[in-house]
Structures are given as structure tokens and as C-alpha cells.
């Protein structure tokens, strides 16, 4: 059974500003019981970016542009711009990379 934000929605998209403030997100993200999870996702976006930058250095991969973390019943995707993460997409369904990429730019939640 889905927990947290995914208990209320199958898919949500967060747009972040340069200071990691939420510029745009569906209402479910702002519910009191979901705000901690939203903050955790924003922290996670920076946390995993540090590892990606290490991997990039070790394996000469170039700058990271996005990452998807897939778990049972949950897939979290982060897109990175000049100021770090600027998009977060959270879904119950495990999506292909093509769908993840298009989801970053979809309007609404």
C-alpha cells in the first residue's frame, strides 16, 4: 500500500527554485502530514547529487543531468540544472526513462 504523498496521488511533480524553495507543486505536497516527506525529497536530491558528482569524477562521466531512484512501489526522479535540483517527479509506477524525461516538463502535478 502506498504511503505518504503517494497515498493521495499516483504522480506528483515539484518545481524548485535556486534556493530549493518549492515554486510549483500539487496541493497534496503542502498537506501538513506530507511536508516532512517533501523536505526529505528535496534533501535527497542534493544528497544523491553529491554521490553522482563523485561517480562523475571517478568514471569521467561529465556533469549529471538527472537521476531516477526506483524502489518497491515508488520511483523518484530528480533533474539538475545550474543551481542543483530544479525538478522532482515522484510516481507509484515505475516508468521508462523516456517517460521520466517528459514528466519533468509536464504542466501541473
Amino acid at each position: 500500500m502506498s504511503k505518504g504523498i503517494l497515498e493521495h496521488a499516483e504522480s506528483v511533480r515539484l518545481c524548485l527554485g535556486p534556493n530549493k524553495e518549492i515554486l510549483e507543486a500539487p496541493e497534496v505536497v503542502f498537506l501538513a502530514e506530507n511536508q516532512a516527506e517533501a523536505r526529505t525529497m528535496i534533501y535527497e536530491s542534493e544528497y544523491i547529487l553529491e554521490y553522482l558528482q563523485e561517480f562523475s569524477t571517478l568514471l569521467s562521466l561529465g556533469e549529471p543531468s538527472f537521476v531516477t531512484v526506483t524502489e518497491p512501489g515508488r520511483q523518484t526522479s530528480f533533474r539538475y540544472g545550474p543551481h542543483g535540483a530544479d525538478r522532482i517527479v515522484l510516481t507509484r509506477e515505475h516508468r521508462s526513462m523516456a517517460k521520466v524525461l517528459s514528466a519533468f516538463d509536464e504542466s501541473g502535478g
Binding site: Y47, Y51, L59, L61, T68, V69, P72, H94, M97
Partner: protein, 219 residues
């Protein structure tokens, strides 16, 4: 030959087959297999020490998720030059360098399935060491699985691509054809799932749902 040496030889043989299979997929440019933080085998164009450093950092990342009770199956990251696909199963991590044109869904499915074939079995006896992984799992390592639970899982996955009633018919057809009982071994559950999901015509979707099903057996 001692059981340990036999087991090691069998593991080496399986690893060779796995990497051959993976490199038959277009776009696979490099690979690294590790258990925990230890790199077992790699063919990246970097020193062993650098790859050990990579393996240690990757394991640290995965462990940090596990520390908050999050079981990561897969991490896929796009970089300027390559994509890095990391598949996790237990303590095993398979990292693949892919070109951007690679079919990540197909490679994920293949990599996950092949990773499941390499179970680092403890050597309990010469007979146990000689058994293939799938058969060993039927020897009391995993409790029987209710067929109804597998059917429910498959029904949920199929509902994303076909109607409910059609999905149920597909499942019922395969259950009848295979003649499985009310309780399944893990091998039977996996076999049933793969046979049902083979009906999905869209290859990319089929690969994704197959990976998800195989992982869900472990959950």
C-alpha cells in the same frame, strides 16, 4: 577439487555468461559487479583501485537508503557522456555504463534477471554447491507462495496496459496451461509471471513490468 573451488569455478563461469549476455545488448559500454563494497569483476577502463573506490562509494549510497528502510532496486543517472545504470539485488550491485541511445528498459530487465541467476550461495555441501540457483531456492530457502497473491500482483501490473477482464483471462490461461497448484515455489512464481507478461506486445513496457514483478517477489 574442493567444494569451495568448485563453487568459485561455477561462479566464474556464470559471471562470464552474464557479461557476454549483457554486452549483446546495444549500448552497454562498461560494467562493474560488486558484492557489498567489494568489486568482484569489472571491465571499465580504469584501475582496479579506482573501481574499488567507486564500489565503496556506491555501496555507501545504497547502504544509506537501507539505513532508512528504503530498498533501492535501481538507480539510473544520466551524465553528459554516459548513463550509469545501477541494479541492486541483496548485497549485489551491477553497474553498467550505457550510451544515451541504449534501451535502458531492455538492459534493466536483462541485467536484473541475470543478476538473479548469480546467487552467491554459501557452500553447505557438495550437493548444494552443484545445484543451480533456481533449484536451490526451492529447497526450503523460501516459503511457498500463494498462487492467488501472484495472480493479484500480475493483475495489478497488467491493468496498466490491458483491461481488468482481459488481464484476468491471460492469467487464467497461463495458470491452466502450466497446471500449477495453489502454492508455488519462487521458481514457479517467477515462471508464471514471465509467461503472463510475455503477452504484453510493447517491448519497453513488457521489460519494465517484468523487472517490477521480479523485484516484487523479493518484497
Amino acid at each position: 577439487m574442493s567444494p569451495v573451488v568448485e563453487e568459485q569455478a561455477a561462479l566464474e563461469s556464470r559471471l562470464g555468461d552474464i557479461f557476454t549476455e549483457l554486452y549483446s545488448q546495444p549500448g552497454v559500454s562498461g560494467s562493474c559487479l560488486q558484492v557489498g563494497r567489494t568489486v568482484v569483476r569489472h571491465d571499465m577502463p580504469f584501475s582496479d583501485q579506482r573501481m574499488q573506490d567507486f564500489g565503496a562509494r556506491l555501496d555507501h549510497l545504497i547502504a544509506s537508503y537501507q539505513g532508512v528502510e528504503r530498498s533501492v532496486w535501481q538507480i539510473c543517472a544520466a551524465f553528459k557522456k554516459y548513463w550509469l545504470l545501477v541494479l541492486c539485488r541483496g548485497e549485489m550491485r551491477l553497474s553498467l555504463l550505457l550510451t544515451p541511445e541504449a534501451d535502458t528498459a531492455a538492459i534493466t530487465s536483462r541485467g536484473t534477471y541475470l543478476l538473479m541467476q548469480v546467487e552467491v550461495q554459501p557452500v553447505e555441501s557438495p550437493a548444494a554447491a552443484a545445484q543451480p540457483a533456481a533449484q536451490a531456492q526451492t529447497n526450503g530457502k523460501h516459503p511457498p507462495i500463494r498462487r492467488a497473491d501472484i495472480e493479484a500482483c500480475l493483475g495489478t501490473l497488467l491493468s496498466r496496459v490491458v483491461g481488468l477482464s482481459q488481464g484476468r483471462r491471460l492469467i487464467a490461461r497461463e495458470v491452466q496451461r502450466l497446471g500449477y497448484g495453489e502454492h508455488l515455489t519462487e521458481f514457479q512464481a517467477r515462471h508464471l509471471g514471465q509467461k503472463v507478461l510475455d503477452y504484453i506486445p510493447n517491448r519497453s513496457k513488457r521489460e519494465i513490468l517484468t523487472s517490477e514483478f521480479l523485484h516484487s517477489l523479493e518484497s
